[in-house]
């Protein structure tokens, strides 16, 4: 079963209730489903369609727009090595070659034990710290081949568990919003007041 489990379905309904239109909740719901299964499954997309009242094709269209949603199983740790200009000049290609050799997979592949997926990435916006990589979107800066080996070994040994959760684990959508702050189902064009809890602090 890769539809949302019971707890996540409950959370999904709570998130949906925050928005005037259910389908606005689609992106956070996709994150939850990726967190649950490690990637976005077909069944999950169908389930989300049912939850927010759109077709599976619309969920699929929305989800595939975003690079960070994966549609095939991904390793526990997704390592994105930047290959854009600054990093390329400072050894990104060599780093990638080294990584491929160290992990025994080509870029885009996943190690047999399901621990690592290695991927090329575009600019990670840390050019002063090139070459860079991200493990599950957590930065590692000025990475040398030796740093890479240590990183992989530490991850294998579970030493970085606190710092780097496994792929798909979220923080933001888990935030708790008081039910009275949820807008609830209503047509956006009918919203003509700021919510009461804002207490007049912000205008529409």
């Amino acid at each position: 079963m890769s539809r949302l489990n019971e707890a996540n379905t409950k959370l999904a309904r709570e998130i949906i209730s925050r928005y005037p239109r259910p389908k606005s909740a689609l992106i956070p719901l996709l994150h939850i489903s990726q967190e649950q299964n490690g990637y976005i499954t077909r069944e999950a997309m169908q389930h989300l369609g049912e939850l927010v009242g759109v077709t599976s094709a619309e969920v699929y269209g929305t989800a595939t727009f975003y690079e960070m949603f994966k549609f095939e199983p991904v390793g526990k740790y997704l390592i994105n090595i930047c290959g854009t200009m600054s990093c390329a000049l400072l050894g990104a290609h060599e780093l990638m070659h080294h990584a491929e050799k160290k992990l025994g997979v080509k870029a885009g592949g996943t190690t047999r034990d399901g621990m690592f997926t290695l991927a090329h990435a575009e600019c990670q916006a840390a050019c002063t710290e090139a070459p860079t990589l991200q493990v599950n979107y957590r930065y590692r800066l000025r990475v040398t081949p030796a740093d890479f080996d240590k990183l992989v070994d530490d991850l294998r040994d579970g030493k970085l568990g606190d710092e780097i959760p496994q792929h798909g684990v979220l923080a933001k959508v888990r935030q708790v919003i008081a039910p009275e702050r949820a807008v609830g189902a209503m047509a956006p064009e009918d919203v003509n007041d700021a919510p009461a809890w804002l207490d007049g602090k912000a205008a529409l």
Binding site: A57, E58, Y60
Partner: protein, 791 residues
């Protein structure tokens, strides 16, 4: 620039008029109108791909760039996204505009394959045409184009070639915004963006053919027309679709005297350019090799081909013999498939012979009185503040009317109040849906319309009732009672009758309806079954598949001494006929037809009738001559003149030109009120299910079965119940169950369906697989069935 000054001209300025200048020509546009639409009216064509006048603009393709004067000099704007403004100066053909448009076209062509010689769209392709008229002629793009598998089937009918797609968003917008079937979507991103379905979920929309028609390139093609013809070899004529009673305007296209394609024509009052797939693709049945080409008469060896003279003579003899026993031993069933003229010719023949037993409806419609209620047009219904649905699932039975009503609800012009026993295609768009159990709809209507909330809504403006037969397993009286309950609450409500068969309204008004207190189709069949009818004429009717109660049809067909059938093909009903006369099909004859709102529009002949087949009206005149009664017409024009002169309702179409384009509404009679008997439904035993039987778009209709592209879409029948009922019955989804009613039973698979309400079981009518007819006794008020597991 001209700004109308009311003080000088003395005229009152139209508050919605906006004065603009396009290419130096002053013109008056409407407030909110887009520049591209205003320019269309002044004949300043602006190239476009994504813009479609029946859909909201998205500014996707950027081809329609034009220059607008601003205080800071000329500015390039997208004319499909920019509304007109007072004093606006627009230029559509300056050097700068040309450069911009050429640039966009060069980019659109960068990835577009130049396979025009083998592309079905070549010759009528907006990309090809506009590359010629507004393109640079050369490309600087020397890199490899995008490659995809070519083409992939995204449904039973539609093929998608992603290499040709220019991502204009027309098909995806149509599917989502117009049809409400968002089964295709843009997927992926950047250079990989493509139109796709969800993996393994086909684009099975009833309206998919429209995406093929509006695709501005050859990316979407439809199986029935693929590689059938080149556009420049097509010959075409404008006509009206008679697949159902909506009466969509079409162009009928042929190549080498064979129908190859229908396209929707945009007329304001009816179909806005859209067609349903059944109407669009069932032309294949006209070309079917199973079409009858010669008259057939029964011999000891079965039906054998013969000449018209022999066939007409034996038909005449049968009618004469039967008439000798009395006028009530002859009956005519059908006529709703033909033109107004066909129906009128047969009505005249029946009048001359004194045949009162005739009915164009086949027991699945409503009392023709509904045509005399205070009538609404489709436009009036779709602009009413409240639309009350007492109707079958319109998405299944009258698909383009569903599009219009959906539009009315989506654009917030109207609120829909639906009364139904199972969810319909319009349920998601209804403001309120009230659930009834067949038999108690009048009470539910009365209760619902007396709540404060609904009363307040009803008082907001015009109320329109969409009135039709939602269930073939109940008496039509319940629908009429429910309608009467609406009129109690809203006496000035207008009615849009939704009887589904092609030209049923025209046939009834032209006289193919019981006369002098004769019985209706069901009474006729019962009389036949009782041996009281010697000669039965089936005028394009196939009661075996059209009448709910097949039992009575079987007995009737077995009992009548002589059966005469006028049809295009052999059907379940006329296989054992004594005489079969081959009729000309749609596309093979001209005339006029009447749609459900009473709009008369013309039908044009495009191809030669197959074999020796001929139009129904001609058969009536010839049969009349063989019988020694002359109905006094020898040409279609003469017949039409006689129709408009004789039948008051048709007098509105006196000028034949009025039936072209939008057509013309029948002359309306003074509205009468509805009468309904006080029939009451028995209580349902709580173990039983109350049966709802209704049609879906693709069933065993002859025109669907004889269309190779559609026949595969027809589903096998199953009995549908609410998922929670499976446990009560004690069976799993999909297993076979016994469905019994009053001594008879059938075995059918059961399906859990959350659209069916609790306590109700739904059976699709006339599907393949299990014969459901034994369950249907249409003279009963309602049908209750018991569903049991098979031990």
């Amino acid at each position: 620039m001209t700004i109308v000054d009311p003080a000088k001209t003395g005229e009152v300025a139209d508050p919605n008029a906006v004065n603009i200048t396009i290419n130096g020509k002053p013109t008056v546009a409407r407030k909110g109108e887009l520049i591209i639409a205003a320019a269309d009216r002044t004949d300043d064509f602006i190239p476009r791909f994504c813009y479609h006048p029946r859909m909201p603009s998205v500014g996707m393709c950027r081809q329609c760039l034009v220059e607008v004067e601003t205080p800071r000099g000329p500015m390039m704007v997208v004319s499909c996204m920019t509304p007109v403004a007072e004093g606006q100066v627009v230029r559509t053909a300056t050097d700068a505009v040309k450069k911009a448009q050429e640039g966009v076209l060069e980019l659109l062509l960068a990835n577009h394959p130049l396979d025009c010689p083998v592309c079905d769209k070549g010759g009528e392709c907006p990309l090809q045409d506009q590359a010629f008229s507004h393109g640079p002629g050369e490309s600087r793009f020397v890199e490899e184009k995008r490659h995809y598998e070519k083409p992939i089937a995204i449904s039973d009918i539609v093929y998608l070639d992603r290499e040709r797609c220019i991502l204009c968003d027309r098909c995806t917008r149509f599917a989502d915004e117009v049809a409400g079937d968002a089964l295709i979507s843009f997927t992926s991103r950047g250079n990989d963006t493509q139109v796709m379905t969800f993996p393994d979920e086909p684009f099975s929309s009833y309206f998919s053919g429209n995406t093929v028609q509006i695709c501005p390139v050859g990316a979407l093609t439809a199986k029935p027309y693929r590689f059938k013809a080149r556009p420049w070899d097509l010959d075409q004529t404008e006509s009206t679709c008679t697949s159902c009673s909506v009466g969509c305007r079409t162009v009928v296209q042929s190549s080498r005297d064979e129908l190859v394609r229908y396209q929707g024509v945009d007329v304001d009052p009816v179909n806005w350019g859209w067609l349903c797939d059944r109407g669009r693709y069932n032309f294949e049945s006209v070309n079917s090799p199973d079409r009858l080409t010669n008259p057939l008469v029964k011999t000891d060896a079965g039906l054998e081909a013969t000449s018209w003279a022999v066939a007409l003579e034996s038909a005449a003899r049968m009618i004469r013999l039967a008439l000798a026993k009395g006028q009530r031993s002859v009956a005519i069933l059908g006529g709703a498939r033909g033109t107004n003229e066909d129906a009128f010719a047969w009505a005249m023949l029946a009048d001359k012979l004194g045949i009162d037993q005739r009915d164009a409806q086949l027991g699945d419609g409503l009392n023709p009185e509904v045509f005399n209620l205070n009538q609404a047009t489709i436009d009036e219904a779709c602009s009413a503040s409240t639309i009350i649905l007492l109707a079958p699932d319109l998405k299944e039975e009258l698909p383009v009317l569903y599009l219009r009503l959906r539009d009315a609800a989506q654009k917030r012009r109207s609120k829909i109040i639906e009364f139904s026993a199972h969810d319909s295609g319009l349920t998601p768009y209804a403001w309120r849906t009230f659930d009834y159990e067949p038999g108690n709809q009048a009470r539910v209507v009365r209760d619902a319309l007396s709540t404060d909330e609904v009363r307040q809504q009803l008082s907001r403006g015009q109320v329109a009732v969409v009135l039709g037969r939602a269930n073939l397993a109940e008496s039509e009286m319940f629908t009429l009672q429910a309608a009467a309950a609406v009129f109690e609450a809203v006496p000035n409500a207008k009615v849009l009758p939704v009887l589904r068969r092609g030209n049923v309204r025209g046939a009834v008004v032209a006289g193919l309806t019981p006369q002098n207190d004769a019985g209706d189709a069901i009474d006729i069949l019962n009389a036949a079954a009782a041996g009281k009818i010697d000669c039965l004429v089936l005028l394009g009717a196939d009661p075996m598949s059209d009448v709910a109660d097949a039992g009575v049809v079987l007995r009737a067909l077995a009992q009548v001494k002589n059966l005469i059938s006028i049809d295009t093909m052999l059907t379940g009903s006329n296989r054992n006929a004594d005489v079969v006369l081959p009729a000309a099909a749609y596309g093979e004859k001209s005339g006029t037809t009447t749609n459900l709102e009473g709009r008369i529009s013309n039908l044009s002949q495009k191809i030669t009738p197959r074999g020796t087949s001929r139009p129904d009206w001609m058969i009536a005149t010839e049969l009349g001559i063989a019988l020694g009664v002359d109905i006094g017409v020898s040409s279609l024009e003469q017949l039409n003149q006689k129709l408009v002169a004789t039948v008051a309702a048709f007098s509105a179409s006196k000028d034949p030109r009025s039936t072209r384009g939008d057509g013309v509404l029948m002359t309306r009679e003074t509205p009468v009120s509805i009468s309904s008997s006080s029939v009451k439904a028995p209580e349902r035993n709580s173990y039983d299910f109350r049966l709802v039987v209704s049609r879906t778009m693709y069933d065993k209709a002859q025109s669907t079965l004889a269309s190779p592209s559609l026949v595969g879409i027809v589903n096998d029948a199953a009995i549908h119940v609410h998922p929670s009922e499976l446990a009560r019955i004690g069976v799993a989804d999909g297993t076979n169950v016994r469905v019994g009613s009053e001594g008879t039973s059938i075995v059918a698979p059961i399906k859990a369906n959350s659209r069916v309400h609790r306590g109700v079981a739904w059976l699709p009518f006339n599907h393949t697989g299990v014969e459901i007819n034994p369950l249907l006794n249409i003279k009963g008020e309602v049908t209750d069935v018991r569903i049991e597991p098979i031990k």
